[in-house]
Symmetry: C2
Subunit: 327 residues, 2 copies
């Protein structure tokens, strides 16, 4: 059985992976080709298992060479991805072909820390401290507190649940929205996905943490924005297509919400002429909120566990449901 992994990931975690699958042949892919563990070029590879590790996505590099190393394999049975979303066209195609697809959810920790920093920066108006320091001016101000604030987290998957955990631990009152109420979310109140609008006016922070379906109209549109609380904070760490960016600019100009922090945008990299760049009430980061250094280790740990489970015929953690009509 051939297991395809990136050469970089195997360098770091290969020993554990080899121990998890002692009978497998590991194919190590790099931009200049596929080799075996002895460094010999492999031309007859037919991967059964593929691990899309985080290093393949670091720095926004393309992964066409990695994809070409497995996409035509007649034995392809399972692709494990260390990305958060299974909503990419590649995975949709694989699922339609009957290939099993799973995802490791290793981004929940850094994404929750990013959201927390964004919210604390907003509550504390830290930009005013930074401006005062640049002016060498001693200008104290009072701060809002996260303890006692009200949050709405839209999407209660692994990422959303981690966000609700940290917000709750800091004393926030946390509403969580999804299609189905999960049993293990740290929320004070569950909101059905189709009843969001009625709850927005009491929320100091609204966090988007759910996938977007292809061609879905933006969840955060003019009506959504108008229903938010004046001065509140919108944070998007999910998908850029969830937000109507023109409507957002108009809304923050009116102060409702008071600020938006976006790690994802409809078009990435954000075009030079986007009004989002310089807007004083909109903060942009370059789709890197999830790039926490712990993700490599977490990703390898989950893949190793899943590899053992796959070989033993046991359930795979984080497996996507097969589309209707296949099985």
């Amino acid at each position: 059985m051939d297991v395809l992994v990136s050469a970089a990931a195997f360098d770091q975690f290969g020993e554990h992976l080899a121990a998890a699958a002692p009978g497998a042949r590991f194919l190590l892919a790099a931009e200049d080709g596929v080799r075996d563990r002895d460094g010999e070029a492999v031309l007859d590879g037919e991967p059964t298992v593929v691990w899309f590790s985080s290093d393949l996505f670091a720095g926004g590099r393309g992964v066409a060479w990695f994809r070409s190393a497995f996409i035509d394999s007649p034995r392809l049975a399972w692709v494990h991805s260390s990305t958060a979303g299974l909503d990419s066209p590649l995975f949709t195609q694989l699922l339609a072909r009957g290939v099993r697809v799973s995802s490791a959810h290793i981004y929940a920790v850094p994404l929750a820390e990013y959201v927390l920093r964004a919210a604390l920066d907003h509550f504390q108006r830290a930009d005013q401290w930074r401006a005062a320091e640049a002016d060498r001016a001693w200008r104290p101000h009072e701060c809002a507190e996260m303890a006692g604030s009200t949050w709405l987290v839209v999407g209660l998957g692994n990422i959303g649940r981690r966000i609700t955990q940290v917000a709750t631990a800091l004393g926030a009152n946390v509403l969580g929205a999804d299609r189905i109420e999960p049993s293990d979310a740290s929320i004070h109140e569950f909101v059905a996905a189709n009843e969001l609008l009625g709850h927005l006016s009491r929320c100091d922070v609204v966090v988007l943490a759910r996938p977007a379906a292809p061609d879905e109209p933006p969840l955060v549109d003019t009506r959504f924005l108008a229903a938010m609380r004046p001065g509140s904070l919108l944070v998007n760490v999910a998908r850029g297509s969830l937000v109507d960016e023109s409507a957002l600019v108009a809304a923050v100009d009116r102060g409702t919400p008071g600020r938006a922090v976006l790690d994802v945008m409809a078009h990435e990299p954000l075009p030079d002429d986007s009004p989002l760049w310089a807007h004083p009430a909109i903060t942009i980061t370059p789709h890197s909120a999830g790039q926490g250094l712990g993700r490599y280790r977490r990703g390898a740990e989950v893949f190793e566990q899943n590899l053992r489970a796959f070989l033993a015929g046991c359930p795979i953690h984080g497996e996507a449901a097969a589309p209707a009509g296949t099985s």
Copy 2:
């Protein structure tokens, strides 16, 4: 019995206070004099109880007029302060006179949120995101994570304990230092105050959260700084005198620690010519980390409870120990 409070605090919380002490005469102090609840000037006040509420300290205003309204009272028995520290000369003098002094610790919540923001900003190198946004440049970078980081919190009073709670909730490994190990701190390891130096090299974050004795030499001196971890973060939310600022500038110039975030300084407001202002690895805020808006309500709640306890002859929460030789 006369109870002296600020007129501003009585405006907001007087109803609750009057209910807690129905037999008392409330004296409402403002800069232009002391009045009773009917607005009549009071010239014969002899306060038994005094509440130093947070509004008296907001915006760095002086409180000489408030102090003069009670300091000569022959009946003075108890002063409750809504500040964190009982190390001011006024409270030392009161204790020496046999007056009971207590403190409400209402700053723990905003101070812990400030420390958390400072640490997340450091781990995520958010300054690089802000610089990239100002340049309209899409420059992703990887981030350190707070989960799995190692912290040392020096001082495990109410403020330090709140900091250990939130750091632990986010997955940090937390060392706590004090003279005596408290029973209820969220720490993984206790460090005796005289054994700090040996633990500094493994700490990603060191937080100062303990009072400073008058004329005490700085805890954070050249030796302390040299023992810290390269690239680590020092946060001071306690007293400026805990840090030797010249030694700090020299140390961050060498990258050990990598950054210092100071809400308190040896001289406040920070003099115009201080090298701290413009140092790229030192962040200054104007002694306002504790100025969370929730402190007014929390302060009133604690004073009201303590007022009931005082009248009933029960223990007062947050009471300072009387100095040796008095009782």
